[in-house]
């Protein structure tokens, strides 16, 4: 494990993220609504992003980027997909932090 992978993340349980999605039709890409109950902001995110938020939200307390990555890998249909925690941080965790959907915990 590297230091980056041990960064810890959480969602304030007092201000949960509400997710909503519908089955896509006409071959359109699937999208998920993420509503932040603290800020009232609504975002359109990918299904993979919603899975990441779900992992963090369903974890009690903080969860490391490495743990998120492993849980996400088990959810994917393609277990051979190559990515590591730095990819997850760059693609999901940092953007979500910038949107104030998740918080990075102090180490």
């Amino acid at each position: 494990m590297n230091k980056v992978g041990q960064t810890a993340w959480h969602i304030n349980p007092d201000h949960p993220i509400l997710l909503a999605d519908w089955a896509p039709s006409n071959g359109e890409a699937s999208e998920v609504i993420a509503y932040h109950s603290a800020t009232g902001d609504t975002h359109l995110i990918t299904p993979e992003g919603a899975q990441i938020l779900d992992i963090i939200q369903n974890h009690s307390g903080t969860i490391s980027a490495d743990e998120i990555t492993e849980k996400f890998r088990t959810l994917l249909a393609d277990p051979e997909a190559e990515f590591d925690s730095s990819d997850i941080i760059e693609a999901f965790l940092v953007p979500f932090r910038n949107l104030e959907l998740i918080e990075e915990s102090a180490q």
């Binding site: 909503a20 999605d21 519908w22 896509p24 009232g40 609504t42 359109l44």
Partner: protein, 307 residues
Amino acid sequence: MTMSDTSISEITQKLNNDGLCLHTGPFSIRVRSEIPEVAEGIHRFYSSYPTHDTDFCDFHIGIHSPGGLRRWFRPQVNFELDGLIPFKPMPKEQAFATFEWGYNYCISSYAHQYLIIHAAVVEKYGQAVIMPAQPGSGKSTLTAALVSRGWRLLSDELTLIPIEARDSVIPITRPINIKNASIEVMKNFAPQAHFGPVVADTAKGTVTHMKPTSESIARINDPAQQRLIVFPRYQRGSQTRLSQRSKARAFMEMAQQSFNFNILGKTGFDILYNTVDQCACYDFGYSQLEEAMELFEALIEQQAGTP
């Protein structure tokens, strides 16, 4: 008792004294004003609405001259809500439009027993079509055209979804605000409709109002079932086209067009999810009203399962 039993002199007298109680669906208002344009507008557009004195009114509205030199020099009016003045004064010629816009402000600012969306609503066969749109999209023109062809008007501006009955839409049937080039378009399209005076140089350009049909007003207490969400867009010269919009993107636009989605928090989220979930969602582009009428008729017949 309806306003049709009340003469304009009686309306003027009530407006000048204790106020006129007007029942517009879910809201009762008491209006006070010494401005003749307000009395004329209420007489013209609200003649079929119920009126009877009541101890409780949701909003106490005043349209008054600010006094001083402005009573004679470029006269203005203030909109007052419960004695407070939330806006800058408007030219006196715009007194009735100020009343209408101010009433919208009252509802959108305080009626949080509803999820309120900036959207027109019309109904046919018991099925409501919700039409959210940005200003300038042709929403009111399309609404007015549909109403002139027999659709029931619930609102040209505010969609009210009750927290306690979230499958329905509540009517707040009032005059349709028509702007700029749409005024002539609608006068040609629906010459039988009743229009008010045309007022130039308002914040929204040149405006007039079109009276809702008697049938729409008679059913002002009759909710409709949510069925379709259509995002209209007028584009000069464009072909009539209807394309499905994803529910996620419909949700995003509806949330952006809502006045109180954030105020209602999780309740607002749940109500909007329910609405989007049970409605088919479409983008609709048009430039020809006749073609738009045909398409809407076919769409609602398909939804209602009529032949």
